[in-house]
């Protein structure tokens, strides 16, 4: 009682943050006083540390003064004060000058001082040393490292580890000591636990060793040996075979090293898999977890039945009492399910139990994982049953979880519905129910956006109708103006194309009567779209409705109504309904360019220069973005956590937009660069460039050559832009050309440029252009043999000069061939109904090929999609990893504007993938090109 009231009055012990200046002055005063008052000084140091850990920084001058005063405390022998002194020195060393002055005091302590603060002294020492003075402490570190006290040993190992960046050559000499420490057995001294009264005298339950030094020694050893693969392998096997690692953290570290070794050399998996496998069953769950993580990243190297062991371990971890471990396990399973949902089917039962886990992150992850696995249900009937069951569970859960989690689940449902359209019905129903429940605008927006995307991308017209009708009901009692406006806009876009437009007109008109002016004006525009697109008598009815709005109280509504009426009467539907949109990235680029130079202002801005995107093109871009975004969200795991949804997904959108914009800007950049070369100006407008440069050499060669293909469709020209980098440090290249020999006689070499000189580490470009045959005339595909020709001269002085008398050596350098393939003539395209399009296209061709360089159906599908530059539709880009046959549906647009549809039947024959490719195309000749160009 009395102590309580005493404390309350003590200005030092409690309350708000101490004043910085007061603390500073008192510190300087007290630390310099004689004799030193240990209790008071320790209190003061604690106050100073509190300031530092609160984020207060002392300016360099004050910090140095403090540092200097603190060093006075070295004369006091109280070990508890000295321990805190070392912590203060560590914290202040970053901001103070002249920290070297305490070196000798610290070193004295390490040699002669009390065991209590010796480890602290060792760790502080590494903070005050720099690269030059390290060697003076070398012997000290070495002795401490092999000290029989584990804590001193750990401190020395960590100190050396921290010194690595500044003094690698000195630390390197500790390799033997570190190795010795890993394998040694060190025990705490008998009085280790006497320090604190809590333990009293009973030491029976206390550890005699925590083996932490093994962890630290292993960490240091790796840094010293990582460049040497053989000795790493030796270290790993010897540590594993002797089972000398007792510390869980050190085993985790060992597993990470194995991962790194395998990353660099996958062929070692046969030796190292048994090691990893043995860690899948360990008494510590963190070791098991780390082994699972590592094997998951190495999944491509591990056989399927071996991988099952990982799943089994995870299954066990799913039911441990520690929520952090359950979270880790379900997070890992979710990650596996992204690529291989069929692998995690076995844990579905555990996952369903986790839906009611008290930790909401875990239950949400369990649901999203379950949603992913449904797509691969082997028997249709059972899986739809489980979808029902899951939806039932989710519905009951929905009442309990926060909105952030709901939004994550909504996204997972959307992604499932997009990937597996056949399952959409149940999922759409679920979303609709959710829409009708109470919720904030954030939640409703997420639902509405998910439904918008489903309308856009679901191939089934009935699904579309169903969602639209649900929207009609929803707007009857929607309280958010923002959402209402968006839904009305969508109804206007989609409604006129449905079978009963009158249904929608009625609902929209109700809004026109009942809502505020903002909603009324957007309802007018929506109605106008019906008026413009629908047949009589509907159109004239719409006109009547719009005429009534002419007398609206709000001027915006009146304006919109009268403008719409004018447009409808003038029979120009395109003024109301637009089927194309400006490429916004291009528009922005052009406008910035226009505004940056005042000279441009003499002429008007040419809006016609901005490319238009048709709705189809827009859709394919959006679809692509949507899928990547959903996958990223699921993968980035940051997003698992609902609550932070807001910011990261915002960023994600931005980066996706950037990706599209970047692609366009890159194209612009190429176009601008090509326009600088006179000869190419007459080639017209650049139609397509390969986005990423293709390497024609290894990336580490003497000369690195990359190439970008530019195609001009108007004039049938192909320009190859070679970029050459000279990576040799003692050679200058002159008169560089690339000799290109096409194997197709229809290619006519037209023009080529020459690069005068390339100094070491410079790069430069060489262009070669060809006239290529039109699509109808001849075979447009070719392989081009390339040779780099140059004159090399040696560098004779330090400035990189060359001897003017040196005539140099004329030399050739063989680089890889370049292929002009069918993909170079196509852009990916998205349309929701592949089959319908496929049946309509006139041109037809087919071929059977063996897909080279791949051994699984999955890789073959990815490769074909990429080389043909197509978009995979109807979720056919997803291939279950154990399947032996697959149908891939690809769609693209060729450079001449025609649609190309490709249906690929893939089958696994032994270790080869055979593909039957059926191509249908709009442009004459294109089908043949694609069929003959696929491989």
């Amino acid at each position: 009682m009395s102590t309580q009231s005493y404390k309350a009055q003590d200005p030092y012990s409690l309350g708000s943050l101490p004043d910085k200046m007061a603390v500073y002055q008192e510190c300087v005063q007290q630390f310099n006083a004689l004799p030193v008052d240990a209790k008071k000084c320790r209190q003061l140091l604690a106050k100073m540390l509190r300031l530092i850990y609160h984020g207060v920084t002392f300016p360099a001058e004050e910090s140095t003064m403090l540092f200097f005063s603190i060093s006075k405390l070295f004369q006091h022998k109280d070990s508890s004060l000295r321990q805190l002194v070392y912590l203060a020195i560590k914290e202040l060393s970053a901001t103070s000058q002249d920290v070297l002055m305490v070196t000798s005091s610290i070193m004295k302590d390490i040699q002669l001082g009390d065991l209590i603060y010796k480890p602290n002294a060792v760790r502080s020492l590494s903070k005050v040393l720099d690269g030059l003075t390290v060697s003076s402490a070398e012997r000290l570190f070495r002795n401490c490292m092999v000290d029989k006290n584990p804590i001193v040993s750990s401190a020395a190992l960590i100190a050396s580890y921290n010194l690595l960046p500044v003094a690698k050559d000195v630390v390197k000499r500790f390799a033997n000591e570190a190795l010795e420490t890993v394998n040694s057995y060190k025990q705490f001294p008998s009085n280790q636990f006497q320090l604190h009264e809590y333990y009293g005298t009973s030491t029976t339950n206390l550890p005699s060793n925590s083996y932490m030094y093994q962890y630290h020694a292993l960490g240091l050893l790796y840094e010293l040996k990582s460049h040497d693969k053989m000795s790493m392998m030796k270290l790993i096997t010897s540590l594993h075979e002797g089972s000398s690692l007792k510390n869980s953290l050190s085993i985790i570290q060992l597993i990470r090293y194995i991962n790194r070794v395998l990353h660099d050399d996958p062929s070692l998996i046969t030796h190292l898999y048994p090691v990893l496998h043995s860690f899948l069953k360990h008494k510590s769950d963190m070791v098991e977890l780390e082994a699972c993580k590592t094997l998951t990243t190495l999944q491509h190297l591990v056989k399927d039945d071996e991988f099952m062991n990982v799943i089994l371990t995870l299954q066990k971890l799913l039911s441990v009492p520690r929520s952090a471990t359950r979270f880790a396990a379900v997070r890992l399973i979710n990650k596996i399910s992204l690529k291989h949902p069929e692998k995690v089917l076995v844990v579905n039962l555990e996952l369903e139990n986790l839906i009611n886990d008290p930790n909401r992150s875990i239950s949400t992850l369990a649901i999203t994982t379950l949603l992913k696995t449904f797509g691969v249900g082997t028997v249709e009937s059972t899986s739809s049953e489980s979808v029902d069951r899951l939806i039932l569970k989710m519905t009951s859960l929905m009442d309990e979880i926060t909105e952030d989690f709901k939004i994550v689940i909504i996204e997972a449902i959307e992604s499932l519905a997009l990937k597996f359209p056949s399952k959409h019905k149940k999922l759409v129903e679920f979303l609709d129910d959710l829409l009708r429940d109470d919720g904030s605008i954030k939640l409703k927006t997420a639902i509405v956006e998910a439904l918008f995307d489903l309308i856009k991308f679901l191939p089934d017209e009935n699904a579309k109708q169903l969602i639209l009708m649900n929207f009609c009901e929803y707007i009857e009692d929607c309280e958010f103006t923002l959402l209402l406006v968006r839904i009305l806009h969508l109804l206007g876009d989609e409604g006129p194309k449905t079978s009963q437009p009158s249904y929608y007109i009625r609902h929209i008109y109700n809004r026109l009567v009942l809502e505020n002016s903002i909603i009324r004006s957007s309802a007018v525009i929506a109605l106008a779209k019906f008026g413009a697109l629908c047949d009589e008598p509907l159109a004239s009815n719409v006109r009547t409705l719009l005429t009534r709005s002419l007398k609206d109280v709000d001027d915006e509504v009146r304006d919109r109504a009268s403008v719409s009426l004018r447009f409808i009467d003038s029979k120009q539907p395109s003024l109301i309904v637009n089927d194309s949109r400006f490429n916004l990235a291009a528009l922005e680029g052009k406008l910035t360019h226009y505004l940056n130079n005042e000279d441009n202002f003499s002429t008007g801005f040419q809006i016609s220069e901005v490319p238009l995107l048709t709705l189809d093109e827009l859709k394919s871009m959006e679809y692509n973005e949507k899928l990547t975004q959903l996958d990223n969200n699921a993968d980035g795991s940051g997003s698992k956590d609902k609550s932070e949804k807001g910011t990261p997904s915002g960023n994600q959108d931005a980066s996706n937009d950037d990706a599209a914009a970047n692609e366009y800007l890159k194209q612009q950049e190429y176009a601008a660069r090509l326009a600088e070369v006179e000869e190419f100006v007459e080639y017209g407008k650049l139609t397509k460039s390969t986005m990423t440069p293709i390497y024609l050499t290894d990336r580490e060669n003497e000369f690195v050559v990359t190439v970008v293909k530019h195609f001009f469709a108007e004039t049938n020209k192909l320009v190859l832009e070679y970029e050459i980098t000279n990576t040799l440090s003692l050679l200058v290249l002159q008169d560089i050309t690339i000799d290109v020999v096409p194997d197709n006689e229809a290619y006519e070499a037209e023009y080529s440029t020459k690069l005068a000189e390339l100094k070491p580490q410079q790069s430069g470009s060489v262009y070669n252009s060809f006239g290529v045959p039109g699509i109808l005339e001849d075979d447009v595909l070719a392989a081009l043999g390339n040779t780099l020709k140059y004159i090399s001269k040696d560098i004779i002085d330090d400035e990189g000069g060359i001897d003017p008398a040196d005539e140099g050596i004329q030399d050739d350098y063989e680089i890889e061939d370049l292929e002009v393939s069918a993909g170079d003539f196509m852009f990916p395209l998205y349309k929701p109904n592949f089959t319908a399009i496929y049946d309509l296209l006139p041109e037809e061709d087919s071929t059977v090929v063996t897909v080279s360089g791949v051994s699984t159906i999955e890789n073959a599908a990815t490769k074909l999609t990429k080389t043909l530059s197509c978009m995979a539709l109807d979720g056919t880009d997803y291939v279950p990893s154990d399947s032996t046959s697959h149908i891939l549906k690809l769609l693209a647009k060729d450079l001449w504007g025609g649609i190309v549809a490709v249906q690929v039947r893939l089958a696994l024959r032994g270790a080869q993938v055979v593909a039957k490719i059926e191509v249908k195309a709009e442009t004459e000749g294109m089908a043949g090109v694609v069929a003959s160009g696929a491989y």
């Binding site: 320790r42 550890p207 977890l289 952090a324 956590d641 609550s643």
Partner: protein, 189 residues
């Protein structure tokens, strides 16, 4: 996802009070490019995000701002350890739980804001003994406790006799006497 191969596994250690105020905040390796919270503003914003989430959801682990966060709530305190997104959840959580246990022992089973501020020196030492520069130094709670010294009991000024006659002082004198007498007796026997 790049693999963390170094020993630097902990990004930050925090102790927050029940109103989100920071009592202890140490962001390790400020010069490391991987450290995203270099300025005080970034750090405080991050702490606020953590604090908001911790209060809403009672769980031991969460993901926040591209970091893995494990924490333990005791009375009016939240002990937080932050690691990289791909860090081993179980390991970071063990560290959190064990440091929490060590602090509880050190503060005489009374882990709250008041005792943390009163014994700030011991709290600092405990965290310093657990994590040095982002490297986990010791994870066993018993060893952690044994590494932390208590503050000097008296302000010993040489040449001056000092007698502590508070309740505590008498009690420790009694304990000392008991110990010495029993030692003597044992020796005698």
């Amino acid at each position: 996802m790049s693999l963390n191969i170094s020993l630097h596994t902990v990004t930050a250690a925090l102790i927050l009070s029940n109103n989100g105020e920071r009592l202890y905040a140490k962001y390790y390796r400020p010069e490391d490019p991987l450290q995203q919270f270099k300025t005080l503003q970034q750090q405080q914003k991050f702490e606020k995000t953590i604090y908001d989430k911790v209060n809403k959801l009672h769980q031991d682990v969460l993901l926040c701002d591209n970091h893995l966060v494990t924490y333990k709530q005791t009375n009016d305190l939240i002990l937080v350890f932050v690691g990289a997104l791909q860090e081993n959840e179980s390991m970071l959580f063990s560290l959190t739980a064990n440091v929490n246990e060590a602090l509880t022992i050190l503060l005489n089973n009374l882990l709250d804001k008041q005792s943390v501020l009163e014994k700030y020196d011991m709290v600092c030492l405990c965290l310093d003994e657990a994590v040095d520069d982002g490297i986990i130094l010791e994870i066993d709670p018993a060893v952690l406790v044994s590494r932390v010294t208590k503050p000097p009991v008296t302000s010993v000024v040489p040449g001056e006799m000092h007698i502590d006659i508070s309740e505590k002082g008498l009690f420790s004198a009694f304990n000392y006497a008991t110990k010495r007498i029993s030692e003597k007796l044992q020796q005698g026997l």
